[in-house]
């Protein structure tokens, strides 16, 4: 297949030093930079336009023509109304709670299970692992109808647990983590085991410290996925007090009508939390995707 050798993910290779670096600037190089910059700017247009609209007065925003990128009449009215109404804050808290539950539980359960599948032998192991792997192929959306039935039988409709627990089921994370654990050389744990450490201890103090980037990647992608999940929270969180941000914005804010400045203020506030998370963890996200080894 490829000439590149597959490295065990554990051996964290330093970002390769640029071997092709040359001192001079070529025409092709300049062209690449110019094209990249232009495309990146183009990709930001929707954000910038939303940001610009959100600081206009409703009159200026709805007028449309001529297009003003810089508001003629700066206004924070859109934001003020949102904060006064307050439901935006409720949704944001709900999203934070649900996504945190999902992320923490996913990490905890998947790490435990992946360690079990990677390092321990027990009856039924192959069958259980096979059934879990098969789950990767199941689109969650195709399950919503019976899943809703199960969750309402458990009396979890309109609760945080009803929103969160079905999202914890992420077979692909088991697969990714097991593959990663499998590649960690066992010599590391032998020493710890000889010192009398049990499996939980080995997992905690030998395996986990070696798995930083991959745990970050799994955690961040779980969080993003859960934060942005729409269909399931739409079904299970009918009560406005339990709605998550995407559902609240889609269902309630969609009914604000033609208040463009206010709508765009809501959009900006809705985009902000994860944008900040992304900027903070950008390195880990890119590194994590590489470490997951999915792409090789």
């Amino acid at each position: 297949m490829t000439t590149v050798q597959e490295r065990p993910p554990a051996s964290e290779s330093k970002p390769r030093t640029i071997t092709r670096r040359r001192g001079r600037i070529t025409v092709g190089g300049a062209l690449v930079y110019f094209a990249s910059f232009f495309l990146a700017l183009l990709w930001l247009v929707p954000f910038l336009w939303a940001l610009s609209t959100s600081f206009k007065t409703e009159t200026e925003a709805s007028l449309g023509q001529p297009i003003h990128w810089i508001p003629e009449d700066w206004s924070i009215e859109g934001y003020r109304v949102l904060f006064e109404r307050g439901d935006h804050l409720t949704w944001m808290i709900n999203s934070t709670v649900v996504s945190t539950i999902v992320t923490v539980l996913t990490l905890a359960l998947c790490v435990l299970a992946a360690y079990g599948f990677s390092r321990l032998d027990f009856p039924g192991k192959k069958v259980i692992y096979g059934v879990i792997l098969a789950g990767i192929m199941v689109p969650p959306q195709a399950l919503i109808i019976p899943l809703f039935d199960v969750v309402s039988a458990l009396r979890m409709v309109d609760t945080y647990w009803g929103l969160a627990l079905p999202q914890v089921v992420a077979p692909v994370m088991i697969f990714i983590l097991k593959r990663f654990f499998d590649a960690i050389p066992r010599d590391y744990e032998e020493a710890a085991r000889l010192d009398g450490a049990n499996h939980l201890r080995v997992l905690w103090s030998v395996i986990l410290p070696l798995s930083g980037p991959i745990l970050a990647a799994v955690g961040i992608f779980t969080f993003i996925g859960s934060w942005n999940n729409f269909l399931w929270p739409l079904l299970v969180g009918n009560d406005p007090s339990i709605m998550t941000l995407p559902v609240g914005l889609g269902v309630v804010a969609g009914g604000y009508g033609l208040l463009y400045a206010q709508n765009m203020a809501a959009a900006i506030l809705g985009a902000l939390p994860l944008l900040i998370v992304f900027m903070l963890f950008q390195k880990q996200i890119v590194k994590g995707v590489a470490g997951v080894g999915l792409s090789r």
């Binding site: 590149v4 690449v32 990249s36 321990l120 689109p139 450490a197 269909l231 890119v286």
Partner: protein, 313 residues
């Protein structure tokens, strides 16, 4: 082989006589492993395996959301589903969306990753710009794009008109076509493919290119002869993930069709299932439809995977 390396480690902390350990270790170990996987397996069984079995059972009944007693009706739901023109229509729409959205999502993801890989000094800015839309909630995305698509005062029609491109007559931006949904989706989710490609590019060692440099290959030859072939497996993965994701379209269609886009009452598959179950209250029928969609996605994914992996060899 696992067992070999682990045998000494299985000794309990108290370190009883070695002979005893050897005989007791396998048994203890087996129970232990089950405990490790039990929490996940339990949640998985309740929220994945059970609903799947339940859905299969419901598809043979007249189960309703109203809660009246359930009756076994055999294959009635299935034969109705296979003869339901609107259901096939929704499936076709889903396939159409997938056909339209997959090529730009994969090609742009690759192209932008190649650019960002070359333009390292702008790396931070490019990653931010190309990937950021992916972390934004779908309702925010559709709010912004519906606003940009506005026939009057919307950004897109304004510039299309200004540049002489015929305003809203350009097909991709026509309000009642799949075009706007595709454009919005490409902007929103391209970043994920971009990131997968970017990560793959970073694992290609620089030495690979050195031989080509010595041979005097130009940039295009290196791209075509070295980089793209090395990205083969990544491309297979990206296409598979993209097909599965596109076939699941619901969120943006639901929000945009209900949010001022002038979309015809055609539905996409998930929306049709959703309506059958939650508006029509027919859980049994919706379950049968779900299974048809599920099998459809499975077949597409498997066929595509087979095709691409054969090409690899």
């Amino acid at each position: 082989m696992t067992t070999d390396t682990e045998t000494p480690a299985a000794a309990p902390p108290a370190a009883p006589p070695p002979a005893q350990t050897a005989s007791r270790a396998p048994k203890r170990r087996s129970w232990l492993g089950l405990w490790f996987v039990l929490p996940f397996t339990a949640v998985y069984a309740v929220f994945m395996v059970w609903p799947m079995l339940l859905g299969l059972y419901y598809s043979f009944t007249d189960k309703s959301l109203t809660g009246r007693p359930v009756e076994w009706i055999g294959l009635a739901n299935w034969s109705e589903a296979f003869g339901d023109a609107a259901a096939w229509d929704s499936l076709w729409n889903t396939a159409w969306f997938t056909i339209l959205s997959t090529p730009p999502l994969v090609i742009l993801g690759l192209a932008f990753a190649l650019l960002a890989h070359r333009a390292r000094k702008m790396g931070w800015f490019l990653r931010l710009s190309f990937f950021a839309p992916f972390v934004i909630p779908v309702s925010v995305v559709t709010m912004i794009w519906i606003w940009m698509y506005q026939p009057d005062g919307g950004l897109i029609n304004h510039y299309l008109g200004e540049w002489g491109l015929g305003g809203d007559r350009l097909w991709i931006f026509q309000e009642d076509s799949m075009g706007p949904i595709v454009a919005t989706t490409v902007w929103w989710t391209m970043g994920f493919n971009f990131l997968l490609y970017l990560a793959a590019l970073q694992t290609i060692p620089g030495e690979v290119y050195e031989a080509a440099d010595i041979d005097g290959a130009n940039g295009f030859q290196k791209l075509w002869g070295i980089t793209l072939p090395l990205l083969g497996r990544t491309t297979a993965l990206v296409i598979t993930l993209q097909l599965i994701a596109s076939l699941r379209i619901f969120d943006q269609y639901y929000l945009m069709a209900g949010g001022g886009m002038n979309l015809s009452p055609e539905h996409v598959a998930i929306q049709y299932i959703y309506n059958a179950g939650f508006t029509g209250l027919r859980v049994g029928y919706a379950s049968a439809l779900s299974y048809i969609l599920f099998v459809f996605i499975l077949v597409v994914a498997l066929v595509q995977f087979r095709l691409l992996s054969r090409k690899e060899d």
